[in-house]
């Protein structure tokens, strides 16, 4: 049985119409996990199509004196972010379930691009919902999705960002549930999605732990990752959860701190820590980074916060942009604005050997950064 709750978080808060589809997904995922050919196919495509394992790279000039900062280079994956790990695994699952049409939501466009990419590779119809505001600020990714053959649907109401795009993708799924697979982009949503996404992203943490031991003969003192919905962070943390001596640090955008400033609420099918008012109404998040501009977070992060196993801090837009420039100028690497939040906090973290999840590359953010 796939994990359906994380402590008091998670669950399935969706219209009845979707419950049988979630049960089907649950069974399909269990069967896939038990089938060696699924694992083999995922590993084969991971190696040859995505370029795994992604390297570890220790910064030479970025880290302040006395600290070592090591990057897990998910930005070097095909399509330029960690999102492809999840999209690839779920497209194999969708194929097993016999679904010919894929819907997805996207914020920064990285998940939309990853989904459009695997749909092109597997010959499946692809519809991506994206907030109109995000289409403006992440325009290159909109063009990429279209070139890959996906239909990009603008969401013109509410916040016009990831929150509304997710709601519209779920509404599409409700209306087309017999033929359509919902390829969710983060460790959020109704069970079993959070655990499926976590397992597919856990490859980041497994590789990173092995590479740390191989290269440094020790584990890092701290592992730092940005948290929007939280998939790259949960994937990286997954490799170190059982290593009590390794600090796990999630970095949220200051204006979208679902864990830092949220309260228990229900959003997009799960109970989690959500930016919400005292009446359970979901509030708007604000971040320069479209991928972190989301008022909810994966339920497992809420449980890790409560248990104290992981700590969650914030970085402001300005701090993220400063870290973006610093990495570009000191290492010749343009990070996405999302992991730039993690880089910002890694700079002042009180730890000697720090592993940072560099979840994506920054090409998509040039317009946003140059505007400032």
């Amino acid at each position: 049985m796939t994990t359906s709750t994380y402590g008091e978080y998670g669950g399935r808060y969706v219209p009845e119409t979707l419950i049988p589809a979630l049960d089907e997904l649950d069974r399909g995922w269990e069967e896939a996990c038990a089938d060696p050919s699924f694992r083999e196919e995922l590993e084969r495509l991971g190696a040859r199509y995505v370029g795994r394992p992604s390297p570890l790279y220790e910064t030479e000039r970025f880290a302040p004196f006395g600290r070592r900062i090591v990057l897990k280079r998910e930005d070097l994956n095909h399509t330029g972010a960690h999102k492809i790990n999840n999209a690839l695994g779920q497209i194999l699952l969708a194929s097993r379930l016999g679904k010919g049409r894929i819907v997805a939501e996207t914020g920064a466009g990285q998940h939309g691009v990853a989904t459009a990419t695997v749909c092109a590779r597997f010959g499946l119809e692809c519809v991506v919902y994206m907030g109109a505001e995000d289409m403006r600020r992440q325009h290159p990714n909109v063009e990429r999705m279209r070139l890959l053959g996906a239909e990009v649907q603008a969401v013109e109401f509410g916040t016009k960002t990831l929150k509304e795009a997710t709601s519209e993708a779920i509404r599409d799924w409700i209306a087309n549930v017999e033929t359509t697979y919902y390829l969710i982009g983060s460790c959020v949503g109704p069970a079993p999605y959070p655990s499926i996404v976590r397992e597919l992203q856990a490859v980041i943490g497994r590789e990173a732990r092995y590479q740390m031991l191989e290269t440094y003969d020790r584990l890092p003192d701290a592992v730092v990752a940005c948290v929007g919905g939280g998939s790259n962070a949960i994937g990286l943390f997954a490799g170190f959860l059982d290593d009590a001596g390794v600090r796990l640090v999630g970095v949220e955008a200051a204006g979208a701190a679902s864990l830092g400033s949220g309260r228990p609420a229900v959003l997009h099918g799960a109970r989690s820590s959500v930016l919400a008012d005292g009446d359970g109404q979901v509030l708007d998040a604000h971040s320069i980074s479209a991928g972190l501009d989301y008022p909810g977070v994966g339920p497992e992060h809420a449980a890790l916060r409560d248990s104290g196993r992981a700590e969650y801090v914030t970085a402001t837009d300005e701090e993220a942009v400063a870290a973006f420039h610093r990495l570009a100028e000191t290492e010749g690497i343009l990070p996405a604005l999302e992991p730039a939040h993690a880089l910002a906090r890694a700079l002042d973290l009180d730890a000697e050997l720090i592993l940072v999840g560099l979840s994506g590359r920054g090409d998509k953010d040039l317009a946003e950064v140059l505007q400032i």
Partner: protein
């Protein structure tokens, strides 16, 4: 949808012949709703209709109408207010039951409410919903969100047949029913029809328009 005009609108709906009135308690992210109800919820929230104001609104509606009132809302409101406390306070304010659009039958089993079943529901789930539902069962006629459709869903007849084989409780069909013709066709199959988005659109034209709209539906069911 709860709001300043809702007591007057509810009275108009009752005069037009409504047997029961659903009152929407707005939520910021209503996954089960199409554009008409979503926009109505946005307007209600912008006008400050939070849970306490909705409950007061419900009480005011109850003072004007005699038919049963059923709040329809989402889990996040109950999570924030307290599940049991919400149920108690809603009943105290005049609710005869409760509909929570994103709370499947296996979640919060102790919360008495009208359960929904859909064309995708298994017989096992329909049986469980029939057992746990409060008074009547809400048959979602389509796989989809709320809002008008051109035709009555062909999925309704088989859903009614499957549900009838499992229970004797009243079955009310809703989602996608907007015209008197569709209502009449749905009523051939089910014991009642629920009209939401189309009624909200009529209500935007005022109480008189809503009363005439409901009267047309009522006449079609006679």
């Amino acid at each position: 949808m709860a709001g300043a005009e809702t007591p007057e609108l509810a009275r108009a709906a009752e005069s037009g012949g409504a047997d029961l009135i659903e009152i929407g308690f707005p939520f910021s992210d209503p996954l089960a709703d199409g554009p008409v109800i979503r926009r109505a919820a946005e307007r209600a929230l912008a006008a400050g209709m939070r849970t306490q104001a909705c409950l007061e609104n419900l009480r005011a509606i109850g003072e004007l109408v005699g038919v049963p009132l059923v709040p329809m809302t989402y889990a996040s409101l109950l999570e924030a207010y307290g599940w049991e406390r919400f149920a108690v306070d809603a009943r105290d304010a005049g609710a005869s039951s409760l509909i929570v659009a994103d709370l499947p039958v296996d979640a919060q089993p102790e919360l008495s409410r009208v359960q929904l079943v859909a064309p995708t529901s298994t017989d096992e789930r329909i049986a469980l919903a029939s057992e746990r539902t409060d008074g009547w069962l809400y048959l979602v006629t389509v796989a989809g969100t709320t809002g008008a459709r051109a035709e009555l869903s062909p999925a309704l007849a088989p859903l009614v047949a499957r549900t009838r084989a499992l229970t004797d409780i009243p079955l009310y069909a809703g989602f996608g029913i907007s015209t008197p013709e569709q209502a009449a066709a749905a009523a051939e199959l089910a014991d009642g029809v629920v009209v939401g988005s189309a009624a909200l659109l009529a209500a935007e034209e005022g109480a008189g328009a809503l009363e005439r709209f409901v009267a047309h539906l009522r006449a079609a069911l006679a």
